[in-house]
Amino acid sequence: MNKWMKLLAALFAVSLVAAACGSSTASDAADAVTDAAGDSDALTDAQQALEDANKAKEEAEAAAQAAEDRAAAAEAAAADSGEGDTATALKVVTVSGPERSEAEAGALNAALEEFGNANGITIVYKGSANWEADINIQLEAGSNPDISIFPQPGKLADFAKAGSVLEVPAEVVEAITPNWSDSALAFGNVDGTQFGVPNKNDLKSLVWYQPARFEAAGYDIPETLDDLWALSDQMIADGNTPWCIGIESGQATGWAFTDWVEDMMLRTTTPENYDAWTTGDLDFSSPEVTAAMEAVLEQWGKDGAVFASGGTIATTAFQANGEPLVNGDCFMHRQASFFSSFFPEGTPAADGSEGAVDVFYFPSNTDDKPVLGAGTLAGAFEDRPEVWAVMEYFGSAEYANARQQAQEALLRGDSEVQVLSGFNTANRNVDTDLWAPLERSFISIMQNAEIFRFDGSDLMPADVGAGTFWSEGTAVVNGDKSVADAAAAIDESWPAS
C-alpha cells in the first residue's frame, strides 16, 4: 500500500510538471517531490520524475523557440508584402448593440459579413438584451467591443464626453456626409465634433389614413399645419370624426401624448428652442412649451374631434387605434412608423387597394419640413484602420441596401410578396426600390427633412422623459390637472445636476 502510494506520488509529480508546463515551476515541483518521497526506496522514482520533468521542460523550450521563429517569419512576410496585404494578419472587429431579434441581428450580421469578406475583416456582431448595462461593465473591465450601436444619442454623448467613444476621423466624416442631412448627422455630433455614425432611423411625424376614404369624402392631404387643422374642423362639421387618439400603455401611459407635444414643439417654435427644451435649458413652464401642449389639447378637446375606443383618451390603449381607423370610426391617426403592425391582420399597406392604409407627413407651416424621429448610432471605442472602415461602412448607402435586402428576405421567408422590413433609414442615397411602398414613403419623408430631431422624451433625463412628462401629461389629458400645474410639476422633477 505504502509503496503503491509512493509510486502514485511520483506519477503525480510528473503530472504537476505537465500542468505547469511552460512556467518555471518544474524545478520547484521536482524539489517538492524530493521532500515528499523522503524514504530512500522512493528516491529512484523521484529521480526518474526529475529526469522526466527536465525532459518536458526541454521540449517546452524547444516548442516555444519554434513558435517564436514562426512569429518572426510571419512578421517578415508581412513586412515584405507591405501594408495593403491583409491575408497574413487576423483583422477582427467586434460590434455590439441592442438589436437582437433574428431578423434585425441576422440582417446586420449579413450586411457586415458581406463587407468583411470583401475587405478581409472578420466582423462579429453580438446583440444584447441588456446592452445599456453591459456596455458600462464592459468598458469598465476593458473588455469592450470595438464598435457599439447606440440606441439614442444621449448615451453616445456621455461616452464621448468621458473619452471612451472616439472622434470619427475627418476622412470618414467626409465620406459619409453626402449620404445624410446635417440634422441626421447631428445625432452623432457632440459639441461640434462628430462621434457617431447614423445606422438606422425611425420617424414619428406621420399621420395614418385610408386614401380611399379620403377620396370618397373629398378630402385632400393637407400641405400645411393650418390646412390640417382646417381639415379636422371640416370633418367635424361634416359629422365625421377626424382623430383616433389613445395614450394608454400600461406603465408607460402618456408617451403618445408626449410625442404629439414634441411634434408640436417642432412646428410652433424654433428647432433651437426644441433643443434647449430637451436639455433642460427651456422650462416646461415657458410659454413656448405650454403653448405647444395647449395646441395639442385644443385640437383634442374640440367637440367630436376624437374617437377614443376606451371612452376617454387616457384609457384607450395606443394599440387600440388601428382597428377604428380601418373600421371608419375616425379618419386620421398620428403615430410613428412602427404602427403598421397594429392594424388588423391582413390590412393592406399603401398598395392602392380599397381598405389600404397609408401615411402622410404630419405637416408644418414652414418649408424645412421638421421631422420627429429616432435613430441608432455607431460609435467606436478603438482606433484601428479596420474599425474606421466598418464605421464608414455603417454610414454608407451600401450598408443600408445590404441590410434592407437581408432583413426583408429574412422576414419574407418563402412568400413572394414584398414585406415591411422595419429597417428604415434617412440615408439619402439608398436604393428605395428595395423597400415596400409604405416604407418607401417613410424614407422619402426622412430624406426630405431639413430638420430632423430626436424624440425629446428619450433625450431628457429618465425622471422626466420616462417619468413625469408621461404621468403629468396623462393627468393633463385626463383633465385632472391644468397645463400650468403639470408643467410646474415636471420642472420640479428635473434632476438638479
Partner: protein
C-alpha cells in the same frame, strides 16, 4: 362557439371535480381518484367529440414550449436527486476511506476553483494560441472569434480537478508530516504558477505589501484562533494566512495594467492554503463519525440554505446597500433617497384634509354612530330598565361600520402612494376577513351545495394576479359612447340608463317595484303584529323603495342629455375616476382573498368543540350571541393569523395596480408599483431600493408577529 361551449363545460366539470374531491378525498381516496380519472376522460371526450382535436389544441409552438418546460423540469428534478444521492455517497466515503474522500473533495473544489477563474474570464484559455489581449478581441466574443470549442470550456476545470484531486489523495496517504507539507506546498505552487502565468493583464494586481502583510497577519491570527477551538491552530493559521494574503493581494491591492506575472499574489497563498490542508493527518474514527453526522445535516439543509442565501438574503442586503446609493448605484448619497421618497408630493398629500368632513361617507358614518348610540341606549333601558348603555352586537357592528366608513372618507381625501397603500390594507383586509368569515359561518349551516359554494368562492385563489386583473379590467372597461359597451358593469349601467328613460318598459319596472314596496310594508306590518324581527323586510323595503324613487324621479343609470337635447349614454370610467378607482381595484383583491379567508375560517369553525355551541344553545343564546360570544372568541387566534397574512400580502400588492390600474397613473399608485417604476422605468435604482426597504420595514413587524403566532399555534 365551440370553444365557449368547451370552456363552460370544462368550468362546470372543474367545479364538480373540486366538490367531489373536497367531499371524498380524505375518506375515500380510491373513489376520489376514480372520479378524477373519469373527469379527465370526460374532458378529453369533449375535446374529441367537439371537433377540437388534441393535436390542434396542444399542437405547434405551444406544445414545443410545454415539452421544453417538461424537459427542463424533469432534468432539474433528476439533477437534484442525482446530486443528493451523489453527495450522500460522497459523505459515506468520509467514514470509510478518508483518503479517497479527500481526493474527491479536492477534485471538486479544484474544478470549481479553476472553472470559476475561467468562467469569470480572469484567466485565458490554455489550448488556443490566440491571445485576446494582444489581438484586441473582446474576451466575451473570443469563443466566436477564434473558436475555442467544447474542450476549451472544460480544460481549466479538468486540470483543476486532476491537480487538486490527485494532490489531496496523495497528501492524505502520506503518513509523515514533512512529506505532506512538502507535497501540499508543491501542489499549491504548481496551481499558483499555472494561474499566475495565465492571468489576464487587466486582472493582475500590483502587490501592496503593507496591505498584504496586515491582511495576512490579521486573518491568519483569526484563523489560528478559530482553529484553536477545534484543536487545530496550525492548520487554521495557515488557511487564514493564505486567505488573508489573497485579500491583501487582490482585494486591497490596486489593479494596474501590464504589471509582472502575479506569482507573489497567487503562488504564496495557494502554497499556504495547501499546506494548511495538508497539515492534518487522517482523523480518528470518532472524528470521522462526528464529521459524518454533521456532513449529513449540511447535505440535507445545504441546498435550501444555499437558495435562501442566494435568492433572499444576498439580494435583501444588496437592496439595503443600494438604497443609500445614487441612481446609478455609483456613489453613496446617505439618506437622500429616503428624504426624497418621504417629501415627494405624490407620496403623501394631506392638503385637502378638511374635505373629509364634507364628504358623504363622513355623514354616513356620523349617522351610523348616532344610530349605534340610540340603539345602545334604547336596548339598555329595555333590558335593564334603567339608564344604561348596551354594547351588544348591533351597537358594536354599527360603530365598526361607522369607523370603516370614516376610514374610507379619510382615505379618499388624503392622496398619495402611502395613503393609497394604507387604504388598500384597511379595505381589503377588513372586507376579505369579514366576507370570508360570513361565508364560512353561513355555508356551514347550508344543507345543500355547501361544497359547491365554497369551491366557487375559493376558485379565484387559483387565478394569478395578472389573470384576475385582466378579467376585471374587461368587466370595468368602458368604450366610446357611440359603440356598444362591452364591459359588464358599464353595459348594465348604460342599460339601466336606457331603461329608466324608456316608455312602457319603465312603467312595468315601476309597477314591479311598487308591488315590492307594498309587499315589504305588508310583511313588516304583520311581523310587528306578531312581535317578530323584520330586518330582511326592512332591507327589502329600503332597496326597492330607493329604486322606485330613482325610477320615478331623477332616473337611474348611465345617460346624459347632450347639447342637442338627445339622450346619450354616459359611461363610468371605473379605472380612472379618482379617488374611487382605487376601491374598484381593491374589489379584485377582495374577490381573490375572500376564498383564502373562508377556507381557513371554515376549518377553524369546524374545530370549535360542539359542546360549547350546544351549551350556549341550551342556555338560550340566540344565533348571533352564540357566534359573537362563543365561536368568534374561539377562533380569534386564527383571525389574527389571517389578518396579518393578508396585511403582508396587501402591502405588497403590485400586479393589480400595474395591469388593471393602468400603471398607477390615475392617483392609484402603490408602493410596489412605485418601486418597479423607479427601478425599471425611470432607472433610479437608489430610490427604487429605498421604496423596497420601506415596504420591507412596514411589513416586518406584522411578519414577525405572524410567525410568532403561528409558532405558538403549532405548540
Amino acid at each position: 362557439m365551440l370553444y365557449l361551449l368547451g370552456a363552460v363545460t370544462l368550468f362546470v366539470l372543474a367545479v364538480l371535480g373540486m366538490v367531489s374531491l373536497v367531499r371524498l378525498a380524505p375518506e375515500r381516496p380510491i373513489k376520489a381518484a376514480a372520479i378524477t380519472a373519469a373527469l379527465i376522460g370526460l374532458i378529453i371526450l369533449i375535446f374529441v367529440t367537439g371537433g377540437v382535436s388534441l393535436g390542434d389544441f396542444f399542437g405547434g409552438a405551444r406544445m414545443d414550449r410545454v415539452l421544453e418546460m417538461l424537459g427542463t423540469v424533469t432534468i432539474s428534478v433528476a439533477v437534484c436527486i442525482g446530486l443528493w444521492v451523489v453527495l450522500n455517497l460522497f459523505v459515506s466515503q468520509a467514514n470509510r476511506q478518508w483518503n479517497i474522500f479527500s481526493g474527491l473533495v479536492g477534485a471538486v473544489l479544484g474544478a470549481g476553483f479553476f472553472g470559476l477563474l475561467r468562467g469569470n474570464r480572469s484567466v485565458g484559455p490554455l489550448l488556443s494560441d490566440v491571445d485576446p489581449i494582444l489581438e484586441g478581441i473582446d474576451p466575451l466574443l473570443l469563443d466566436e472569434a477564434v473558436g475555442v470549442g467544447f474542450l476549451g470550456h472544460l480544460e481549466w476545470p479538468l486540470i483543476g480537478a486532476v491537480l487538486f484531486g490527485v494532490g489531496s489523495l496523495v497528501i492524505k496517504s502520506l503518513p509523515a508530516l514533512p512529506a505532506r507539507l512538502g507535497l501540499g506546498a508543491a501542489v499549491g505552487a504548481a496551481a499558483g504558477a499555472l494561474v499566475a502565468t495565465n492571468t489576464k493583464i487587466l486582472q493582475r494586481p500590483e502587490p501592496d505589501w503593507v496591505a498584504i502583510i496586515i491582511a495576512t497577519a490579521v486573518v491568519g491570527l483569526l484563523g489560528g484562533a478559530l482553529g484553536l477551538r477545534s484543536g487545530r491552530p496550525q492548520r487554521g493559521a495557515l488557511l487564514g494566512a493564505g486567505l488573508g494574503w489573497v485579500i491583501g493581494g487582490y482585494l486591497l491591492s490596486p489593479f494596474a495594467v501590464s504589471v509582472a506575472v502575479p506569482y507573489i499574489s497567487t503562488v504564496v497563498p495557494l502554497v499556504l492554503i495547501m499546506m494548511g490542508f495538508a497539515w492534518q493527518s487522517t482523523p480518528t474514527p470518532r472524528e470521522r463519525s462526528l464529521f459524518d453526522s454533521r456532513a449529513r445535516a449540511v447535505v440535507f439543509l445545504g441546498p435550501s440554505l444555499g437558495f435562501l442565501l442566494i435568492a433572499l438574503i444576498v439580494p435583501a442586503i444588496r437592496t439595503g446597500v443600494l438604497s443609500f446609493k445614487d441612481r446609478n448605484s455609483a456613489e453613496y448619497v446617505g439618506i437622500d433617497n429616503y428624504t426624497t421618497l418621504f417629501t415627494a408630493s405624490d407620496s403623501a398629500d394631506v392638503s385637502n384634509w378638511t374635505n373629509i368632513f364634507t364628504s358623504q361617507l363622513f355623514f354616513w358614518s356620523v349617522g351610523l354612530v348616532l344610530i349605534a348610540v340610540i340603539v345602545g341606549l334604547v336596548s339598555g333601558i329595555r333590558r335593564n330598565g334603567e339608564r344604561s348603555f348596551d354594547s351588544g352586537p348591533t351597537t358594536t357592528g354599527a360603530l365598526l361600520v361607522a369607523a370603516f366608513l370614516f376610514a374610507m372618507a379619510a382615505m379618499s381625501v388624503l392622496r398619495g402612494t402611502f395613503f393609497n397603500n394604507l387604504w388598500w390594507v384597511i379595505t381589503v383586509v377588513t372586507a376579505a376577513t369579514v366576507l370570508g368569515l360570513a361565508v364560512a359561518v353561513l355555508a356551514d349551516r347550508a344543507t345543500f351545495g355547501q361544497n359547491l359554494a365554497k369551491s366557487l368562492i375559493f376558485m379565484p385563489m387559483a387565478i394569478s394576479f395578472v389573470g384576475a386583473s385582466i378579467v376585471w379590467r374587461l368587466q370595468y372597461q368602458a368604450r366610446d359612447i357611440r359603440k356598444n359597451q362591452t364591459g359588464v358593469l358599464n353595459s348594465v349601467w348604460v342599460g339601466l340608463g336606457r331603461l329608466s328613460n324608456s316608455g312602457w318598459p319603465r312603467l312595468v319596472i315601476i309597477a314591479i317595484l311598487a308591488a315590492l314596496v307594498c309587499w315589504s310594508l305588508y310583511k313588516i306590518a304583520t311581523r310587528i303584529q306578531r312581535d317578530q324581527p323584520f330586518t330582511g323586510a326592512t332591507l327589502g323595503l329600503f332597496l326597492s323603495g330607493w329604486f322606485l324613487y330613482r325610477f320615478i324621479g331623477p332616473r337611474l343609470g348611465g345617460f346624459r342629455i347632450n347639447a342637442q337635447g338627445e339622450l346619450e349614454p354616459e359611461v363610468v370610467q371605473f379605472l380612472t375616476e379618482r379617488p374611487f378607482n382605487n376601491l374598484f381595484l381593491m374589489v379584485i383583491l377582495i374577490w381573490m382573498q375572500t376564498g383564502f379567508a373562508m377556507v381557513i375560517f371554515s376549518a377553524a369553525i369546524k374545530a370549535v368543540p360542539s359542546e360549547f355551541i350546544e351549551a350556549a344553545q341550551v342556555d338560550g343564546a340566540t344565533e348571533s350571541q352564540t357566534f359573537f360570544s362563543v365561536t368568534l372568541p374561539s377562533i380569534l387566534p386564527t383571525v389574527g393569523v389571517v389578518v396579518t397574512t393578508m396585511i403582508v400580502q396587501v402591502t405588497k400588492v403590485y400586479d393589480i395596480v400595474a395591469v388593471a390600474g393602468l400603471g398607477g397613473r390615475f392617483g392609484n399608485n402603490v408602493l410596489a408599483n412605485q418601486m418597479f417604476n423607479e427601478s425599471f422605468q425611470i432607472g433610479d435604482t437608489g430610490l427604487g431600493a429605498a421604496v423596497a426597504i420601506v415596504m420591507f420595514l412596514v411589513v416586518l413587524p406584522v411578519m414577525v408577529y405572524n410567525i410568532y403566532t403561528m409558532q405558538k399555534e403549532a405548540i
